[in-house]
Symmetry: C2
Subunit: 216 residues, 2 copies
DNA sequence: CCAAAAGTGTTCTTACTACACCCATGT
DNA sequence: ACATGGGTGTAGTAAGAACACTTTTGG
């Protein structure tokens, strides 16, 4: 049971890791997680193990990645490990314990066990879903300007996104909508930006067919 | 541990089910599956439980769907159930035990437990991946004509696909390629069809971005 | 010659990209 | 005034859908 919690921090996509104090793998950075109680639901176990790191209410999205049956940390027997992907909006600042930190996913420290692969799978899943679902809602604040959203998408995807086109793609798909309000300009001026919000705050597939679409 | 094995049978997408002889849920149709031994890999367990139904060599593709922790058949405690999606080409005819049959996914009998939902998830996954990967290789024979491939895709997707466009889409993406040979025409004549094959017979993502593509 | 099935050519539509240009605000 | 960031207009591009037309076979 492992949680890959991702969020945009300081303009980069980051993952929540804690530093192991004890053997095995003392000093290495690990994903939060732990065992599942005998009658516990998987989702409940994730929340239980994450409780110290991030409040459940700060998790905007949680989905299952995969279950691995490889022999892991414990050489006595095979441990089933189900990995989850969690997403935190970039405007919430969970209070982190001393051993826990956000690490940019493109500059990871030495990770414990095979956690590097779980992180890679989570990032790949997030990037794919940003393109064909409304998953951006889980990384962005409730309300935002297009410029802010552009920075979030650029950080999450790992390459620059054009604000104009981002706006148009997401508007056409009815993923985001403008509010009546505008944000004040910064110190250096600039036109006040319209404030937008996501229409839905639950995962929706917006562009299911890359090809071979059904006839109309 | 459950296997949703799908294949195109008689022009329709079918799922492999066996009829339960004993309680609970006697008489209902269930997915093949069973427990995982203490030191067994998940994939090995799937193969072990499927052995009586289909030969491993007949499975052209096997991938994990999800793990469910809901209280299932056994009210004594929660059972973790990991579901897999397996695909069988339409030209192989596994020798089926007496209690086992292919059922069209759009006309399912009363299924045991919550197996209906697992089947739905598997079909959805298959249909999505047919659009943006080369997954068709796992439903088609090694070699085929475009007409035959069209029938397979139409059955799997649940709506008619145009042979011309199917050919062009898959060729442009370098998913299929023509051979030098042609298939003889049928009794009623017709131009002999070029025989094609899939370039790769392993899962490859061919069209990862529905939108927000990286700059060139 | 005709029917049948395969394959080609062509047009249309649409979603997206790229980028020039215009707008509103602070200093 | 002018720098700064936001927003609009507008081609251009490419993938795919739709469908007419041509090709090659059997009877």
């Amino acid at each position: 049971m492992l949680a890959v919690v991702l969020s945009v921090r300081e303009g980069r996509l980051g993952v929540l890791l804690w530093r192991r104090g004890l053997a095995p793998q003392a000093g290495r950075w690990a994903l939060p997680g732990g065992g599942v109680a005998r009658t516990e639901r998987l989702r409940a176990a994730i929340h239980r193990h994450l409780a110290a790191k991030v409040d459940v209410r700060e998790l905007a999205h949680l989905e299952q990645l995969a279950t691995h049956s490889a022999v892991r940390r414990d050489p006595r027997g095979r441990v089933l490990a189900t990995a989850y992907l969690g997403l935190v909006p970039d405007d919430v600042e969970p209070h982190l314990p001393a051993d826990t930190r956000w690490h940019p996913v493109d500059a990871l420290p030495t990770t414990a066990f095979d956690h590097r692969h779980f992180i890679a799978a989570a990032v790949e899943r997030l990037r794919a879903k940003l393109s064909y679902t409304n998953l951006g809602f889980a990384l962005a604040p409730r309300e935002f300007t297009i410029g802010a959203l552009r920075r979030i998408y650029s950080a999450a995807l790992g390459y620059e996104i054009d604000a104009t086109n981002l706006n148009r793609v997401l508007t056409r798909r009815r993923v985001i909508e403008p509010t009546e309000r505008t944000a004040p300009s910064g110190q250096s001026g600039g036109r006040p930006a319209t404030i937008y919000r996501f229409c839905e705050r639950e995962l929706t597939v917006t562009d299911p067919f890359a090809a071979l679409r059904p006839p109309r």
